[in-house]
Amino acid sequence: MSEIKNIINGCLKGNRRDQELLYRRHAPKLYAVCMQYSGNDEEARDILQEGFIKIFENLIHYKHEGSFEGWIRKIIVNTALEKYRNKHNLYRVDDIDMIPEPDAEPDNTDYAGLEAIDLLEIIRELPPKYRMVFNLYAIEGYSHKEISQMVKISEGTSKSNLSRARVILQRRVGSYTGLKKKING
């Protein structure tokens, strides 16, 4: 029996230590996913917390088929999506003109020097509806049809949001790399 299977069985029996072991092992990667889907740390913490409770509640349904990491990531993404759907009325930023202009001129071809933490910061600055569609399409690999059903928007809106998200990201990346170049001299 594999180690993860043993840990899952322990969790199913309500063993606190196995639950903690599972959390410690997977929380850092999942927290990064939560941050990617949220605009601030508080929201990311909420997604992680709710997501992990769901993971423990639904472990009994895990059939040990496919990657466990993929299974728990899907739960976290769904939790983020659920949270977004509950709050989407609060997100009114849907116009690209409302996005603040970058501080430096974009450099679209040179991404050198960008680290994961920079990318995370850039993606978190996106308006929620663009961030959600970009994450689902570009990172998770869902189609526009699937996204339209998940986010409850039309396929056209999904495409449009993705397109706008890309433009914003392009600018941001450019400004980051431009800034870094300036700083580095």
Partner: protein, 438 residues
């Protein structure tokens, strides 16, 4: 533009792949109590389901037994106070006969006696012996004379002088308990098996004990054996026998590794000790290396990190928990009291057992096979337990019965005397099997 857009996707996808951020500690603090509780509804639902199934079975069995018995009662006779004669419960089944009915030397010639229509063909010629006298108060109140009966397989023939009537043998109201017991089979041998849920509670508030309890899960256990009972009277039986029961605990969070012997240059009878609720486990397999993942200091070793670094050694991972197994031979002394005596009997069962330890092992589970690790030290060789249960018995034939006995057992002394711990083991089992009367 499309390529650039695709590039930005790839940039983020690859850049954020495998990125990790340590979450703040309070997140786990908020998750932990809910994660623990999230398992409880499953346990509660399972327990509720088990209780519901048991109650449903009991209710259905009781209802069925009532229906079955009322069917039998239709064939029984009752007495008419006015005529002092038996009359029909269900007209049409019995008829009055004025003709003498021959049953060897027994002649039915009185028109006031009612005999089942079918009885003429049922009463065999061989009935010629009056074996016993019936003096049941209910019957005697109405019939001032004594009736005698002789037995067939399932009918009795009550006779008073030349008056004879068939009475169903399975209607106990017609006979006193003593009369009913005469000729019945007093001895019963039964073979029973049961899945058993074994657990324990700690009456002390020691933090270390509570910690240990949270890290141990009971394994599904089983018990089975032979029981011999003697019927003292129609309701009370005394029972003994020989049972074998096996149960155990899973000690989670303790990883075991094989292949340690090649690195072991120390001398001693055991390399590791593991503190458990049932005593300290001593490893006897020198090839085993143990590691406590939960850093709760349950595993004590004389092999320090200076002497051996498991990370640098080539050890084979076995399991991330140890299994502690005990088995006992049980000698019970049990009293059974029959509460309901119908097609399905219901008994209250209670008694004491002395339990002799026969197996004491600790092992790791390696792909379904047991990898021996050691044993638990200081276990009591004999323990005593009390039991209380409810037995259901359904007669298949005159001799054979099916039995179902949900039984609760409480151990009067713990398996091991550990200073600072007051552990009270108990178990719940659902015994089922078959019994033979002789």
């Amino acid at each position: 533009m499309d390529d650039r857009e695709a590039n930005i996707d790839v940039l983020f996808r690859n850049g954020l792949k495998d990125y990790e951020v340590l979450p703040p500690p309070e997140v786990w603090k908020n998750i932990a109590p809910k994660a623990k509780n999230s398992q409880q509804p499953i346990l509660i639902l399972r327990s509720a389901a088990m209780v519901a199934v048991l109650l449903s079975l009991t209710f259905l069995a009781y209802r069925w037994s009532i229906q079955f018995t009322s069917g039998l009662e239709g064939n029984a006779i009752t007495m008419n106070p006015e005529s002092e004669s038996p009359v029909l419960d269900r007209p049409g089944i019995f008829t009055i006969t004025e003709k003498p009915v021959r049953a060897d030397n027994i002649m039915l010639s009185d028109a006031s006696v009612i005999v089942p229509q079918t009885q003429e063909s049922v009463v065999p010629d061989t009935i010629n012996t009056l074996q016993q006298e019936v003096d049941h108060p209910d019957v005697a109140d109405r019939i001032p004379v004594k009736y005698s009966y002789s037995g067939t397989s399932d009918k009795l023939l009550a006779v008073n002088n030349n008056k004879s009537v068939a009475i169903d043998k399975y209607v106990p109201e017609y006979f006193s308990e003593e009369t009913a017991m005469n000729g019945t089979r007093r001895w019963t041998i039964a073979a029973l098996v049961s899945p058993t849920y074994y657990t324990s509670f700690n009456s002390g508030s020691n933090e270390a004990t509570t910690q240990l309890m949270s890290e141990e899960q009971t394994l599904i256990s089983y018990a089975g054996g032979l029981a011999l009972s003697y019927k003292i009277n129609r309701r009370l039986s005394v029972q003994s026998g020989l049972y074998y029961s096996s149960f155990g605990n899973e000690l989670s969070g303790i990883s075991s590794f094989g292949g340690f012997q090649q690195y072991d240059n120390t001398k001693g009878d055991h390399n590791f000790e593991v503190l458990t609720m049932n005593g300290t486990v001593y490893t006897s397999n020198a090839d085993v290396f143990l590691l406590d993942n939960l850093s709760s200091q349950r595993v004590v070793s004389r092999i320090s990190n200076d002497m051996f670094d498991p990370a640098k050694a080539n050890l084979q991972y076995l399991d991330n928990s140890l299994r502690q197994n005990f088995s006992y031979l049980e000698l019970p002394f049990v009293l059974k009291y029959k509460v309901v005596d119908r097609a399905i009997d219901f008994n209250i069962i209670g008694g004491l057992s002395s339990n002799i330890l026969v197996t004491n092992s600790v092992y790791a589970n390696l792909d379904g096979t047991k990898y021996p690790v050691g044993k638990t030290e200081g276990l009591n060789m004999i323990t005593f337990s009390s039991s209380l249960g409810m037995g259901m018995e359904y007669s298949l034939t005159n001799n054979l019965s099916l039995n179902l006995e949900p039984t609760f057992r409480y151990y009067l002394n713990s398996f091991n005397e550990i200073p600072g711990m007051r552990v009270h083991p108990y178990s719940f089992g659902l015994f089922s099997g078959i019994s033979y009367k002789f």
